[in-house]
């Protein structure tokens, strides 16, 4: 039913668009072909999301096969993508994992997809793409809090771009970067330099190792330089490595003397601690 409604809405929109294009001399047959192609695409995508895939017929699944199929079908009935569940079964089979363990992992993934669906909808993603749900479920499975993905899910990124960003967040969390700041950093990168999302992990590692700072400080430093100038990711990384972070390191400038001047004042963004020192 929802597919029909979506199709009707799409065709109405397309008709209006074609009317507008006709005014500009756009050939009508191309528009009709476009409608057909898009319709096929829409239907196939809906199938991906809604219809339950079959569990691989493999004797190693034994008695767990039917329960796995039931899990997959329940997910499909709930409007969740079933492809990731089937892939998880295939992954387990390929690795020779016992059937019970596969079932446990698939159950956990199904729950994760359901929670991801609720989370995405609660944050304004009406019909989240399967890729996004899978990425969110993967993030949660790795122990990250749902809230860490809030900046990405509520951003203007489309579902596919958001899912890539969530995948990167998942990797950053696994590498030990604090999740919530990393989520905010990824949102900023997506806003300033969306094509650079895939390079964030490398950039952060450059900053962390180049400056020899903690994971949390690396996120702060890169985030500060990204926010200050609105520059591209690579420029922000370069600036961070130059030690030109604007976000931290300032003392409160107290003191009426600074000994023999240890720590020069020209390090303007560095320590401003005075020594209040002088021979008495």
């Amino acid at each position: 039913m929802s597919i029909l409604l979506a199709l009707r809405s799409y065709i109405d929109t397309e008709r209006k668009r074609m009317m507008r294009m006709r005014c500009h001399g756009f050939p009508a047959p191309l528009g009709v072909m476009g409608v057909l192609v898009m319709t096929v695409g829409l239907v196939s995508q809906s199938r991906y999301a809604a219809a339950a895939e079959a569990v691989p017929a493999d004797a190693r699944l034994g008695a767990t096969g039917p329960s796995l199929q039931a899990t997959v079908e329940r997910a499909g009935a709930a409007g969740l993508p079933t492809h990731p569940l089937v892939v998880k079964i295939r992954e387990g089979l390929a690795k020779g994992v016992p059937a019970e363990r596969i079932a446990t992992a698939v159950d956990a993934l199904a729950r994760g997809l359901d929670e991801a669906n609720q989370f995405a909808r609660a944050h304004g993603r009406g019909h989240p793409a399967p890729e996004l749900l899978e990425a969110l479920a993967g993030l949660h499975t790795r122990g990250a809090a749902w809230e860490s993905a809030t900046p990405l899910v509520t951003s203007k990124l489309d579902d596919v771009a958001a899912s890539r960003a969530v995948d990167v967040l998942s990797e950053l969390a696994q590498r030990g970067y604090p999740e919530r700041p990393a989520g905010r950093l990824l949102r900023d990168v997506a806003n300033h330099d969306p094509t650079a999302i895939g390079r964030v992990a490398t950039g952060l590692e450059s900053v962390r190792r180049g400056l020899t700072v903690s994971h949390a400080d690396a996120v702060d430093t890169l985030g500060a330089n990204l926010a200050v100038d609105g520059v591209a990711l690579d420029a922000a990384v370069a600036k961070s490595l130059d030690g030109r972070e604007h976000g931290g390191g300032n003392g409160n400038g107290n003191g009426n003397g600074r000994g023999n001047g240890q720590g020069s004042e020209h390090a303007a963004a560095a320590s401003k601690k005075g020594m209040a020192k002088g021979a008495k």
């Binding site: 998880k88 030109r244 976000g247 003191g255 023999n260 240890q262």
Partner: protein
């Protein structure tokens, strides 16, 4: 009196250094260098409070007026994955109008080890020299050490505890009336990182300064205790414009007498003019209200305004971070093709399975072939650009790839190796 704190400081510094040096360094050390140059000028209402605690200090000279300032500095660093050795040296030359030139030279060697548990640790030694042309006696050398521990908490808080020990030896004690002094300074700081563009911090500190006034005759000492607390904040007001402000209040007690009340603050703005050039405007002020019972001179003030340009350059450049060289069996990627190799002398059949085709297990092309090297299996697969997870399956049993740049936990209690194929997915 200062012996016991000194001993404790030495013990702490030794312990911290051992902890630093004992830490593993998994990647090859990367050298880097940076230079900075500040040039500018300003007005200072009480310049020699730069090195004197108050107007009664032997190092104090009256000067109120303009100054020109040049301050170059250079930093050499050797950074491994979890340890950094840094040497920083700089000069600060201030030319007054009527009171000579001040030459300040400093060097600092520090070891930094982040993430010893939740703590970032820094230890260092410092040394320096001060010379004022206005007075032959007003010169000294200094040496000291520092120990700093920083702790991140609740993501947005950073707590720092630091301790600094500095000794000064005066070049002409007969002229200056002091042979040496020793300062212990401790500071606690809690910074709240409100966001990438703002942070505020509360801090408090204590200083204990003891001077040997005349060692040859009386051996008498002078002493200053000072306690302060302050608030500071930093905010990026607009792209390329950063603002900083601080306010602090404290008490200074000379020679165990009545305490002076002090209040001070600073305000600064940095504007990024060009890629490596910042314009800096800074004000720093202090007002000392001396107790009526004090036998010392009356209270004093210092107000400094500095304007200048700060230029920086560094050899550090972004790129793929330095990592340990991949082991010989790590997958090799070339022009979209990945060579997988595994040493498995006892195996009768080995295949590679991965995420690129949804973990399909029965693809003939993924069956590995024995090479000329005994026990070594390999296969070359064309893979699409992107990040792929994989494992080997030897005689039906999954094997964690023994060599890969990264691993990621799978959902079955094991780990997949990661291979990245360059290009746009």
């Amino acid at each position: 009196m200062a012996t016991r704190p000194l001993l404790w400081a030495r013990r702490l510094a030794c312990t911290a250094t051992v902890a630093l040096l004992a830490s593993p360094a998994s990647a090859a050390p990367q050298p880097s260098a940076a230079v900075e140059l500040f040039g500018g000028g300003g007005y200072d209402s009480n310049l020699f409070l730069l090195v004197a605690a108050d107007p009664d200090s032997p190092t104090y000279r009256p000067y109120a007026g303009g100054f020109l300032r040049v301050a170059p500095a250079a930093t050499l660093a050797l950074a491994a994955d979890s340890l950094r050795v840094e040497l920083r040296a700089g000069s600060d030359i201030r030319q007054t109008f009527g009171s000579g030139t001040l030459f300040i030279e400093d060097a600092q060697l520090t070891l930094l080890r982040p993430e010893i548990g939740p703590i970032d640790l820094r230890v260092g030694v410092t040394g320096g020299r001060f010379d004022a042309t206005v007075d032959d006696g007003l010169r000294f050398t200094s040496a000291g050490g520092l120990l700093e521990a920083a702790w991140r908490l609740f993501e947005r808080w950073r707590f720092t505890a630091s301790y600094r020990l500095t000794g000064r030896w005066f070049g002409a004690p007969a002229l200056i009336g002091v042979t040496r002094d020793l300062a212990h300074e401790a500071e606690l700081r809690a910074a709240f990182i409100a966001g990438p563009t703002s942070q505020v911090a509360l801090s408090a500190g204590y200083l204990d300064l003891r001077s040997t006034i005349d060692q040859s005759s009386t051996g008498a000492t002078g002493q200053i205790d000072r306690l302060w607390a302050g608030l500071d904040g930093l905010h990026v007001a607009a792209p390329r414009v950063t603002l900083f402000a601080s306010l602090w209040a404290g008490a200074m007690r000379p020679d165990g007498g009545p305490a002076d009340l002090q209040i001070g603050g600073a305000a600064a703005a940095w504007v990024t003019v060009r890629e490596s050039l910042d314009a800096v405007l800074r004000y720093e002020g202090l007002v000392d209200h001396r107790s009526a019972d004090s036998s010392e001179s009356s209270g004093f003030q210092r107000h400094v305004v500095t304007v200048g340009l700060l230029w920086r350059s560094s050899t550090a450049r972004p790129g793929r971070p330095a990592e340990a060289a991949p082991p010989p069996e790590a997958p090799g990627v070339s022009a979209g093709r990945v060579r997988f190799t595994l040493r498995a002398p006892e195996a009768s059949i080995v295949r590679v399975v991965g995420s690129w085709n949804d973990w399909a297990a029965s693809v003939p092309a993924q069956v590995m072939r024995p090479t000329r090297q005994p026990g070594l299996w390999e296969v070359v697969l064309p893979l699409p650009p992107g990040t792929h997870r994989f494992q080997y399956v030897q005689d039906g049993r999954a094997i964690r790839p023994p060599a890969a740049a990264h691993y990621r936990a799978d959902d079955f209690g094991a780990e997949d190796a990661i291979v990245e194929v360059p290009g746009t997915p």
